[in-house]
């Protein structure tokens, strides 16, 4: 039981470690940068931007460490970056096995198709948990190190709530992976798939950024995801 999960997890261990270290370093840089900036200047900037932008990105509290982390880390890295990463990663799981003629051999194992699928999905749990635990710990450590304070319960809650969100992203990816035979197609479809699926099935648009608000695609993606109640709560919980 769970041999495939173990194999897939071990196979991707190096990548998981590199990703965790990379995100941790980025968090360290962001926290360190906060210690250099004049918080009141940022608050003034936040006041000067249109209300729609403030609502969309939650920058009204950017002058506090919680608001700073919420804007810099949890909106872009967690909701968009890792959401897309897990969807993309999930999208490659089954389709690449089919594309590379691996699936016939795997299905010749004495395990059911559903178990194989479940085990493949479960292999994404380690990076998901490792990122949340390590980066959560690193964030708290650096915040304390620069002399700021943050409610650890809020931090834990933010990371805890990100787990079901990222699992949904991974599930969207793996669903595409089953529906599409070519890994590259599934992976490409997973990226807009996250935005569309979240908007259509899970949330309702906050309308924070109106039709006249011409943002780059990535900003639109962030708005869509953060418009999902769960996503908004995730971002808000850090503040």
């Amino acid at each position: 039981m769970f041999e495939t999960t173990r194999y897939e997890t071990n196979r991707r261990l190096r990548g998981t470690l590199i990703l965790t270290v990379g995100v941790s370093l980025y968090v360290a840089f962001i926290v360190w940068y906060f210690s250099l900036v004049d918080a009141s200047a940022y608050e003034q900037i936040a006041e000067s931007v249109p209300p729609a932008m403030r609502t969309a990105f939650g920058i009204q509290t950017i002058g506090t460490i919680e608001g700073w982390l919420g804007g810099q880390i949890y909106t872009f890295v967690w909701l968009v970056g890792l959401g897309v990463y897990f969807a993309y990663s999930g999208a490659g799981r089954i389709a690449s096995d089919i594309e590379n003629d691996r699936m016939d051999l795997l299905l010749s194992f004495p395990v059911s198709r559903s178990q194989l699928l479940l085990e493949k999905f479960a292999s994404m749990l380690l990076p998901l948990i490792m990122l949340n635990v390590v980066v959560g710990g690193v964030t708290y450590g650096f915040v304390v190190a620069i002399g700021e304070t943050i409610d650890p319960m809020h931090l834990v809650l933010a990371h805890l709530l990100s787990i079901p969100y990222l699992l949904v992203c991974a599930a969207i990816g793996i669903t595409l992976s089953v529906l599409v035979n070519r890994a590259a197609v599934a992976e490409r479809a997973a990226i807009p798939g996250i935005a569309e699926a979240v908007e259509q099935h899970l949330g309702e648009s906050s309308g924070g950024c109106g039709a006249g608000c011409h943002w780059a695609d990535v900003c639109s993606l962030a708005r869509r995801i953060s418009s999902w109640r769960g996503g908004r709560f995730l971002v808000d919980s850090i503040r």
Binding site: E3, T4, N10, D101, D104, L107, P110, V111
Partner: protein
């Protein structure tokens, strides 16, 4: 009850009828060769036997398990080894890691013994493997849990002649030990060397099911001779002469008729040189592939004879 039983197995992909009412039985301890050129439908049969695809109609049992019954087939797969034609092992892992994974799922009691015969560099990542090394790793994983039945799809493709011979020797011993081996091939010479019985597939239909000895016996003899132009024309017109090839001063044909008639005809001509031999399996095989004895260009059979 046979180890493998197919009963009217049909798989229709819509545009291609890959298997058309295929029925045969493979008995315990047998080495069964499943012959046909590329695209004949061999892999479709194998995939249906392993439950990898749902037959359009008909059924099959493997080690007593119906291919429609996933739970029964899962139990049977504990006792089945499978060597697919294309081995898509993950490129970044080592051979040892692949075998560890396979052993954790289905067992690997004979791994060390097999690695003494087949020698892939297990400590190196798969991306550094040659085709032959990947094939050897595939053979090890197919046999290492000591299954009762091993299903192999083009098992020797990519192996060098020395390893092919070791493989042939290995499978003969395995068969003597009670294993049943089912393998598909379009390399006829290896089928002749190791198989007890063959099924011949043509465009999804089973067109022949014979003991290898019977198959060879039915194939007549190959006659090669150097003679006159007149004799070449007379011999080509003789009853039982097929697959005629003429050369500058000679002729070669397969003779399936009565020997005295051939000898009487030869006695009336000036024969400078004659050689009568058992025909290669290719020639016998061609009988199943069209009345004119020819194989279409996209269905060339391959041989290392």
């Amino acid at each position: 009850m046979g180890v493998i039983e197919l009963d009217g197995l049909t798989k229709d992909y819509g545009d291609v009828l890959a298997n058309d009412d295929v029925s045969f039985t493979v008995e315990t301890g047998e080495i069964f060769g499943y012959l046909g050129p590329n695209g004949a439908g061999k892999t479709t049969t194998i995939r249906a036997l392993l439950g990898l695809l749902e037959p359009t109609s008909g059924t099959a049992t493997v080690l007593g398990a119906d291919v429609h019954d996933e739970n029964a087939l899962i139990d049977a797969k504990q006792r089945i080894g499978y060597l697919p034609a294309h081995l898509g092992f993950n490129e970044e892992v080592t051979g040892a890691e692949v075998l560890d994974y396979h052993a954790s799922v289905k067992g690997g009691g004979r791994r060390d013994e097999l690695l003494e015969i087949f020698t892939p560099p297990v400590e190196r990542p798969i991306r550094e493997y040659s085709t032959g090394n990947k094939r050897m790793l595939g053979i090890v994983q197919a046999f290492m849990h000591d299954p009762e039945l091993v299903i192999m799809d083009e098992p020797t493709s990519g192996l060098d002649p020395l390893k092919q011979e070791e493989f042939n020797e290995f499978v003969r011993k395995e068969c003597e030990g009670g294993k049943t081996l089912f393998f598909s091939s379009h390399v006829l010479s290896e089928v002749r060397r190791i198989c007890d019985r063959v099924g011949i597939l043509r465009d999804g239909k089973l067109v022949g099911l014979e003991d290898i000895e019977t198959l060879m016996g039915q194939g007549g003899m190959r006659v090669q001779l150097r003679t006159t132009d007149e004799a070449r024309a007379d011999l080509a017109a003789l009853d039982g002469v097929i697959d005629v090839q003429t050369f500058a001063d000679g002729i070669q044909f397969i003779y399936t008729g009565e020997y005295n008639a051939l000898l009487r005809e030869l006695a009336t001509h000036d024969v400078r040189e004659i050689k009568i031999s058992e025909p290669p399996l290719e020639d016998i095989f061609m009988h199943y592939y069209g009345a004119d004895g020819s194989v279409e260009s996209n269905q060339k059979v391959q041989s290392d004879v």
